[in-house]
Every structure is written in structure tokens, then in C-alpha cells.
Symmetry: C2
Subunit: 106 residues, 2 copies
Amino acid sequence: MATPANLPHPTRADLDLPSVLFALSDPERLDIVRQLRSGPLDMADCSLRVPDMPKSTKSHLMKVLREAGVIRNEANGRGRRLTLRSEDLEARFPGLLPAVLDAPAQ
Amino acid sequence: MATPANLPHPTRADLDLPSVLFALSDPERLDIVRQLRSGPLDMADCSLRVPDMPKSTKSHLMKVLREAGVIRNEANGRGRRLTLRSEDLEARFPGLLPAVLDAPAQ
DNA sequence: AGGTTGGTTCGAAAAATATCGAATCAATAG
DNA sequence: CTATTGATTCGATATTTTTCGAACCAACCT
């Protein structure tokens, strides 16, 4: 129940389309991904729609995105640095991420 | 508990990205969508991975795809005609469907 | 008319996800 | 060193989704 320095991430080759689509199919998670489009973000700076969301819930959202290979989650000082895995996603599923991100916001 | 001649379908403007992504996030449903890429298909001719799937389960898969606006499901003689709503999806989420369909099969 | 085929709907049970408090840890601040 | 901050994990509960039999219906036979 610690805060491991590095969490497991799937390799590019292991990216699975249904898992990626599922991770992106939640408005809250999609919103996080949209925020990461312009570049990496400290998890603490990543704003949620639900402002008073418990941190365990927030952590779980990140876990789904990370395990699907959508984001990278690395230790960074006291917090966490989140990065959108654009290149890996583009290599494996060309055009998918741009199409999702360019879609009209709900 | 009847077999209504026409089922409700969302309009193009009502298409919701998370719902569409969710509908596509299941391997079985994605497989159905792939089969519809080349054109409409009678539901009976639509082959499933699980060959002995109960018809109520199969019907439920179609319901999720239909309610998300991914496919159209119309009465056709004794059976049902399934059509991929490519144009509506392309108009609302440009590039999304091609990206999903062109992605390497899992 | 009666039987068969193809498919939807309901309802209940099973499985998967989400939510969130508590415990825990690591890095930093004081 | 001690306290605070930022975040993961566990465990339990709540919610959502899936599965599937039963009932039902409409179209097509014979």
C-alpha cells in the first residue's frame, strides 16, 4: 500500500484497442486526457470536474488510463508527472487519438 | 416484450462520444462493427465469435451498438437489417471510425 | 390454421467497475 | 527529527453491465 516509485506500464506492442477505447469512454477520464494534450502535467495540477473527488478515486481513474497505456505516470518529486502517450498510441492506432481529441467536447 | 417494427435510434446530433467509445470497447461488439464495414448485413448472417451465444445476449450487444448510434437496426422481412452509421459517425466524429476499423485486429 | 424462424423484452442472477475511507509511504518543509 | 503534502493500495460497498432463460411477437411457410 505504498507509493511505488514506478508503476507498471504496458509496452507499445501490448496496447490493446478495446482497453484503450474503454479507458477513453468515461467523461472524467477523457477530460484528463484532453488536459494532457498540450503537454505533461503534475497530477496535482490536473483539474477534475468533480472538485472534491477523493484522492483514491482520482488515483483509480489514473490507474485505468495507465493500465490501458493511454498515459504514463511517473514519480516526480513529491508528486506525479502525467504524460499522454501520444507517440505510442499513434504508432499502434494511427489517427485514433487525434480523432478522439478533436471530437467536439460533450 | 414484442418485436417492434422500428427501434429508437439517436439522431446524428445526439451522438455522444463516450457512449460511442464504450460501445466499441468490447471485442465482440467491435467484431460486429467490422463485419458491417463492407455493407449492411442481416442479423442472422452476422457471425459471432461465440457460436452458441443465446439470442437474448446477441440482441443485447446490438442494443448497446444501436443506442450509442453506431449501427442502425431495422426490420427486414422476418429478420433484421444491420447498417453501420458511417456517415453520421464521420460527420460528428471525423476520422474516428476509420481509425478504429483500420486498427490492427486484436 | 398451425408450426417454424428470427428477434426483442423482461427479470433475475452473475460479473465487472466505480466509489471512497483508512492505512501507508516518500519527498519535502520547517 | 517531525509534520505536512501528494499519491498508491487495500477492502468493503454501491452501482453498472453482462448473461441468459422465459415469454412474446411478427413474418413466413405448409
